[in-house]
């Protein structure tokens, strides 16, 4: 034979018949990519609390330094009933929440538009770069005294302080969001007839959204640490204030109650942000 090619032997037919409910698969992820960690986290939490019980029960540390879990819980119920340091627990918590939410709203409503504008416009970027780059590495507590001198000891100084602390990460991430926009996407929209405003609304904004949300998350984290520190120094109400006045009386159990409440709220906020991310940018990491 001089053929350079010929037809091969017939193929075997597949043996297994297709089942009614075939196994569904998806691409192997890289890194974590949404692999469930909830159980692991819950187990870790339980282990830590167990350790706490154990340490208290064995009296390894004097209760003045580390009160046992029951003690802290009893104290929590007592504060819930009677309040602490001249205000109910609800008043302390809502004072703190009011400050952080107001400041977060202010920071987002100034930071996002300004960040987007800085990413888009040379003049806006040029003008605002210097002040932002100058103030944002400063620890907020360094200029808290200035806020108090200028704005008094009331709510205003704390809210302005928090707003400033949260503003920078939000603004910078909105800028980064605009910068990450691929030029092909812009060109595609322009050749579909987008006006500048449509380009902004339909292309720039959604493209920057993932980074904006990341910035919000970071901003709120910064907000919590600044909030508590500010209340420790200058407040008559708030969780931070509660912790501070308890420490004057060496009421360690109250300090623990305060820390627990802050932890719970901070967790709730970051969980809320994650939910927001999941509903607003479900495509993240997929393109």
């Amino acid at each position: 034979m001089t053929d350079l090619a010929s037809r091969g032997a017939p193929l075997p037919t597949p043996t297994a018949a297709p089942t009614a409910a075939p196994k569904r698969v998806r691409l192997h992820p890289f890194g974590l990519d949404g692999a469930p960690t909830l159980l692991i986290s819950l187990a870790t939490g339980a282990a830590l609390i167990g350790l706490w019980f154990l340490v208290a029960w064995l009296r390894l540390v004097p209760p003045l330094f580390l009160p046992g879990p029951e003690e802290v819980f009893t104290q929590f119920l007592a504060i819930l009933d009677d309040g602490y340091a001249g205000a109910t627990l609800g008043e302390h918590v809502s004072a703190s929440l009011f400050r952080i939410s107001t400041a977060a709203l202010l920071a987002a409503s100034f930071g996002i538009p300004l960040g987007l504008a800085m990413g888009l416009n040379r003049w806006v970027k040029g003008v605002f770069d210097t002040p932002i780059e100058f103030y944002w590495p400063l620890p907020p507590l360094a200029y808290l005294p200035l806020m108090i001198i200028w704005l008094g000891i009331g709510e205003l100084s704390k809210i302005v302080l928090l707003t400033l602390a949260m503003f920078a990460p939000i603004c910078l991430s909105a800028q980064a969001g605009v910068r990450s926009l691929p030029i092909e996407r812009v060109n595609a929209a322009l050749s579909l007839g987008a006006t500048r405003w449509q380009l902004f609304l339909d292309i720039v904004l959604p493209s920057a959204l993932p980074e904006i949300l990341t910035g919000l998350r970071i901003g709120i984290g910064v907000g919590w640490s600044t909030l508590v520190a500010a209340e420790l120094i200058a407040a008559t109400r708030g969780i931070g204030f509660m912790i501070m006045s308890a420490s004057h009386f060496l009421a360690t159990d109250v300090v623990f109650v305060g820390i627990g409440i802050i932890a719970a709220w901070a967790f709730a906020f970051s969980y809320g942000m994650r939910l927001l991310e999941r509903t607003l940018v479900p495509w993240k990491g997929k393109s």
């Binding site: 060109n187 595609a188 929209a189 322009l190 050749s191 579909l192 006006t195 339909d202 479900p282 393109s287």
Partner: protein, 267 residues
């Protein structure tokens, strides 16, 4: 008619040197024609297309579409990119209808038109899918549907099938010919596959690199023949096809005149 007259483009490279990417290109794209630009990598094909699309200003020369000078992107020139540029947060139908949304078409009509176009490119049933749920070839078809949605005067396609396997590629070529035959759109198409150029073009222009220059032009009829007879084999086995293939192959592979590069040619 799209008219490119003596278009030249100079870039400045990062190190400050000047890159002569396009040298006095002259080209007409008439109604009902498919003009294919063919050339080796880096010879200035995308540069020419970007200029026609309005993404890139010319250093010299002019481009007009039906008498209007082209100086910025617009919905009268639909672009299909090599890399897909679908929006990941919109469904397939919303992506197709994006240009209609920009034009202010009401949502219901948009949806209808999008479904029509998806049928045209063989993707009915995928209107509600997310872009990342589609294969590369399917995404490219969405890209074509999107470019057609605003009913542009001309379609500009930059190696739209370059990343596809050869089987899908053949399907897409036939699909494009169908679309062309049905809509009568003018098409400017870039490729570095000689076969693709011969199969699709009513006109093929061959470009040489550095500076990018149109060095030859062929007028063909294979695409019209295919649109009528739908017989790929008859075209691929036509002696004229093989002749042209060889001729263009020699043109593309001819070592280009080195005198532009500073003359390291043996004397």
């Amino acid at each position: 008619m799209l008219h490119v007259q003596n278009a030249s483009v100079f870039f400045s490279a990062r190190d400050g040197r000047m890159v002569h990417a396009l040298d006095r290109a002259t080209l007409d794209i008439d109604a009902n024609s498919v003009v294919v630009a063919l050339g080796a990598s880096g010879c200035g094909k995308s540069t020419l297309l970007n200029a026609i699309a309005g993404f890139l200003p010319l250093s010299d020369g002019s481009i007009t579409l039906d008498g209007q000078p082209v100086d910025k992107p617009g919905a009268d020139r639909g672009v299909v990119f090599q890399k897909d540029t679908l929006l990941p947060w919109k469904s397939v139908a919303e992506n197709v209808a994006l240009g209609l949304k920009f034009a202010g078409v009401p949502a219901r009509d948009r949806r209808e038109r999008a479904e029509e176009l998806l049928r045209l490119v063989g993707l009915d049933g995928f209107a509600n899918a997310a872009p990342h749920e589609l294969s590369g070839g399917m995404r490219q078809r969405v890209g074509i549907a999107r470019a057609l949605a605003t009913d542009p005067k001309i379609l500009l396609m930059d190696e739209p099938f370059g990343a596809l396997d050869s089987l899908t590629r053949e399907q897409m070529q036939e699909l494009l010919i169908d679309v062309w035959a049905r809509t009568g759109k003018r098409i400017f198409f870039i490729t570095h596959s000689i076969e693709e150029a011969l199969f699709l073009g009513t006109t093929v222009v061959v470009m040489s690199p550095r500076p990018g220059r149109i060095v030859a032009r062929f007028d063909l009829d294979f695409v019209r023949q295919f649109a009528q007879e739908r017989d790929v084999r008859a075209i691929l086995s036509a002696p004229r096809f093989a002749e042209l293939y060889d001729e263009i192959r020699n043109l593309v592979h001819r070592p280009h005149d080195r005198s532009h590069d500073g003359g390291d040619r043996p004397q």
